[in-house]
Structures are given as structure tokens and as C-alpha cells.
């Protein structure tokens, strides 16, 4: 049989999961409990670290922008709004996905890898339970919902941090900030961020599961699979981000 490469294999897993999910919808056999468990593990457990990171990143970006603008233009009135646009379009979807990849991607690859080397995957075959239904679909849906929710939360947190810094250190009223924000940001930007988060939320579980399912036997194989899952997911996130940017916002 032909060997699938590192890009084709996740794509293949995605296609079979998509078909599996649709057919389980039509059969009304959704593994609801498993899916909710995955959403909880991906989303709820990641909220603290992602909120903290995004808060810090948006604080840094406001202060940094402001410093540059003051040097060049001697005023920084538009900085909070600029900074928030950057956060919505770029920082929130990409940083969230990267953090999710390092937390959830590694754990998916390691968990499936351990299941492989302890023959649990073979056991699933013996029990006639499809690994797509049992492993992939819940992790995909969990990661997808988690990534979209976390991206929205990130944007919210970035907004709050930006308003706070604007009011506390730069002397702008929240109302002024709101007006300048409306000037620069549109629903189109938010939609772009959502498209990104949907793509990344799909990419992470399948790339990671791909490494887990094909991990070499032995604990070293599992370690390698987890590392590769994070490294490859992060790289693909950056590449796909560039790709979506060029389609979505470039003239």
C-alpha cells in the first residue's frame, strides 16, 4: 500500500472523520459525553494560560506602538485602536492556536501514541469500534469548539486590556477608544479571525493524531510523536495564516 506523507495523512484523517461525523449524525449516534469531555479538556483547561498570554501580548503591543508613534508623530491617539485591529486579525487567532497546539496537540499525539504501543488501538479493531468515531471525531470537535471559543475570549481580553491601558496610562476615555475602534475594525475582520480559528482548530487535532497513530513503537516513539505534533502544527499554523491573510485582507 502507498505510504501517505505528513500532509496527506492528516488530510486523509480529516476526510474520514468528516464522513464519520456526518454518518454518525444521520445515525444519531453522537458520542456526546466524549465530545463534551474533549471540549472541557481543550477549552476550559486552556483558558487561564491563554487569557494570561493574550493579556500580556496586547499590553506589550499597545505600549510598543505608543512609544513608536510618540517618537515619530508626537501623539498616540489611534494606538489602542490600531493595536486591537492587529490583535483581532493576527495575534488572537495565531497565538491562541499556537498555545493550543502546544497543550492539546502534544497531549493528543502522546495519548494516541501510548494507545498504539499498548495495543489499545488493536483492541479497538477487535471490538469493531472505529478509531475515527472513538478517537478522532471527539478530539476534532473538541479542538474546533475550543479554538473558536478561546479566540473570541482572547479578543475580549485584549479589548479589555487595551481599554484599561488607554484610560490608565495614555489618558483616553473608553468612549474615544470605542469611536476610533469603529473607524478601523469591521465585522469582516472578526469573520477573518473566525475563519482562521476554524482552520487552526481543525489542523491541530488531525496533524497531532496523525503523528500519534503512526508513532514508532516504544516510549521514545511517543516522545518524538508529541514533539513533532507541536512543531509541525505550529509551522502549518504560520503558513496557513499567511495564506488566509493574502486571501482575506490583501487588496
Amino acid at each position: 500500500m502507498r505510504e501517505w506523507n505528513q500532509l496527506e495523512y492528516p488530510a486523509l484523517l480529516f476526510c474520514s472523520s468528516f464522513v464519520g461525523f456526518v454518518s454518525s449524525l444521520t445515525r444519531r449516534e453522537i458520542r456526546g459525553r466524549e465530545i463534551i469531555k474533549q471540549i472541557y479538556e481543550c477549552a476550559v483547561m486552556s483558558i487561564p494560560v491563554i487569557s494570561f498570554s493574550l493579556g500580556i501580548v496586547s499590553l506589550m503591543s499597545v505600549l510598543e506602538f505608543s512609544w513608536h508613534m510618540r517618537v515619530v508623530l508626537r501623539q498616540d491617539a489611534l494606538v489602542p485602536a490600531f493595536s486591537l485591529v492587529l490583535t483581532i486579525r493576527e495575534v488572537a487567532p495565531v497565538v491562541t492556536a499556537m498555545l493550543l497546539a502546544s497543550r492539546v496537540g502534544a497531549s493528543i499525539a502522546a495519548e494516541i501514541g501510548v494507545m498504539k504501543i499498548t495495543e489499545q488501538l488493536d483492541q479497538l479493531k477487535l471490538l469493531a469500534v472505529s478509531e475515527v468515531d472513538y478517537l478522532l471525531v471527539p478530539r476534532w470537535l473538541g479542538c474546533l469548539v475550543a479554538n473558536v471559543a478561546l479566540t473570541l475570549i482572547s479578543i475580549g481580553i485584549a479589548g479589555v486590556v487595551t481599554i484599561f491601558i488607554g484610560a490608565r496610562w495614555m489618558g483616553y476615555q473608553p468612549g474615544e477608544f470605542y469611536n476610533s475602534l469603529l473607524l478601523f475594525t469591521t465585522g469582516y475582520d472578526l469573520a477573518g479571525a473566525l475563519v482562521k480559528s476554524l482552520c487552526f482548530g481543525t489542523l491541530i487535532p488531525f496533524v497531532s493524531a496523525g503523528y500519534g497513530l503512526r508513532c514508532a513503537l516504544g516510549s521514545q516513539g511517543v516522545g518524538e510523536a508529541a514533539t513533532q505534533a507541536v512543531a509541525r502544527s505550529s509551522l502549518l499554523i504560520i503558513i496557513i495564516d499567511l495564506f488566509i491573510n493574502s486571501l482575506w485582507w490583501m487588496p
Binding site: 479497538l124 477487535l126 469500534v129
Partner: protein, 239 residues
């Protein structure tokens, strides 16, 4: 009837199985003996299609199996259950959930009987695999296969790692399986004593080949050096 015809399997350049054949009827017990690493586990996995053979045929109830045909393998695996050497319970589920996993609810009716057969207490079932001993996990994995009531059961070293009492219990369980369900069993084991007590046929593998096949009596009186070594519990130093 379960029939293997000249099964061969090579990993890389290492021939693990070389033209292994055997026949097993329902109600019979076939013990497969051999030194570690000779390919006993690989043999069982080829029967249920987890490792596809390079050449040779597997026939189950007059039907030739094709490991590439996943649909057919599903029905093959219903007819032919495998208990792994390692317990391979799903570690995110409790023992009870493991037993029920993918099982038709009506089949659970006999759970109590099978738990008695392996002497596994019901209280343990609410625990996760990591919270119970290896022996308990192994018993649970046996029960998981028994619940599916396959026509043939392949046991991969069911008594390895168990205390002598559990070993007797396991042997009695295999007798029960054959007597009550009239299943055929292939038991891979290092336990020659059990083989002599239980087996209808003993097969001895060496270097990927069947070097002895016969009844327990003929096994004990065999001139074959490895068979004699197994019977005497001696180590063959020149091997």
C-alpha cells in the same frame, strides 16, 4: 473449523513465521509453545488480521479471510476473539466501561458467570485499569472477550504474570469455555504443565517453524530436543 495454511511473515529481513499450518475444530484446545520471540503473538495476530501475513491463508468456518478487507475482518473478529498478552484495556474507561464498550446490551446478561469463571469481584469493576493490579487487568481483558462469545478464542499467555491459584482458575476457565460454549481455543503459553493437562493438540514453534505437532502424550515422549527441554523444564544451552 479454523485453519491456517502455510502462514509466513517477515519483518524487514527477519523471517518470523515460516509456513506455519494448523487446524482447530470447535471444542478443541490447541496449545502453542515456543521460546520467547519465536513469533507466537505474531501468529495469533495474523489470524485476526491485525498483522497481515506475507503468504499463506487463514480459513475460518470455511471462509477465507482477507486482512485488507476491513468489512470482512469485522465479522471474522466477531467469530474469533483474541486476548492480548498485555491486557490492553482502554485506560480512559473503568473496568466496567471497558467490558461494556461496544457490546450489545443483551450480552451483558452473562457477565456474572464470566466474572465467576475468572474469579474477578464486581467491586473492582468501578476502578480504572491503572488502579488495579496487572492480574486483575488481565482477568478483565479475558472477560471482555468471553462476553462477546466468539466461536474461537485465542489466548496469548493467559497465565503469565498470575499467581499459581489464578493459574488454576484460568485453566478451569478455559475448560469451561470449551465445555459450555463449545468454542475452540488456541492458547499460547510457556506453561507446559497446563498444556499437558488441557491440550487436545500441542504445537511447538522454533525459528518460525512448527517442529512438533501432536497430543500431549506424544509431546512428552518426543525425541525432539526442544520438546524434551520444555517437558523437563530445562534450558537448552546450545540454542
Amino acid at each position: 473449523m479454523l485453519e491456517l495454511k502455510a502462514i509466513s511473515k517477515t519483518f524487514g529481513n527477519r523471517a518470523v513465521l515460516r509456513s506455519v499450518s494448523l487446524t482447530l475444530n470447535r471444542g478443541q484446545i490447541c496449545f502453542v509453545l515456543g521460546r520467547s520471540g519465536v513469533g507466537k503473538s505474531v501468529l495469533l495476530k495474523t489470524i485476526v488480521g491485525l498483522i497481515p501475513q506475507d503468504s499463506g491463508e487463514v480459513w475460518i468456518q470455511s471462509e477465507k479471510t482477507d486482512p485488507q478487507n476491513e468489512e470482512q475482518m469485522v465479522s471474522v473478529r466477531q467469530k474469533c476473539g483474541l486476548v492480548f498478552q498485555m491486557p490492553a484495556l482502554l485506560d480512559s474507561l473503568t473496568l466496567q466501561e471497558n467490558l461494556e464498550f461496544g457490546l450489545k446490551p443483551e450480552k451483558l446478561a452473562r457477565l456474572g458467570k464470566y466474572l465467576d469463571w475468572v474469579q474477578l469481584s464486581r467491586e473492582r469493576l468501578s476502578r480504572y485499569p491503572a488502579e488495579v493490579s496487572f492480574g486483575t487487568q488481565k482477568k478483565a481483558s479475558v472477560v471482555r472477550t468471553l462476553l462477546r462469545e466468539p466461536q474461537f478464542i485465542l489466548f496469548d499467555e493467559p497465565t503469565t504474570g498470575l499467581d499459581p491459584v489464578s493459574r488454576q482458575v484460568t485453566n478451569q476457565m478455559i475448560r469451561n469455555v470449551v465445555k459450555e460454549s463449545h468454542s475452540g481455543c488456541i492458547v499460547v503459553s510457556h506453561d507446559v504443565q497446563s498444556a499437558i493437562e488441557l491440550a487436545s493438540t500441542i504445537i511447538l514453534l522454533d525459528q518460525g517453524q512448527v517442529i512438533f505437532q501432536g497430543t500431549p502424550e506424544s509431546f512428552c515422549s518426543s525425541e525432539q530436543p526442544l520438546a524434551r527441554a520444555f517437558c523437563n523444564g530445562m534450558v537448552l544451552l546450545d540454542h
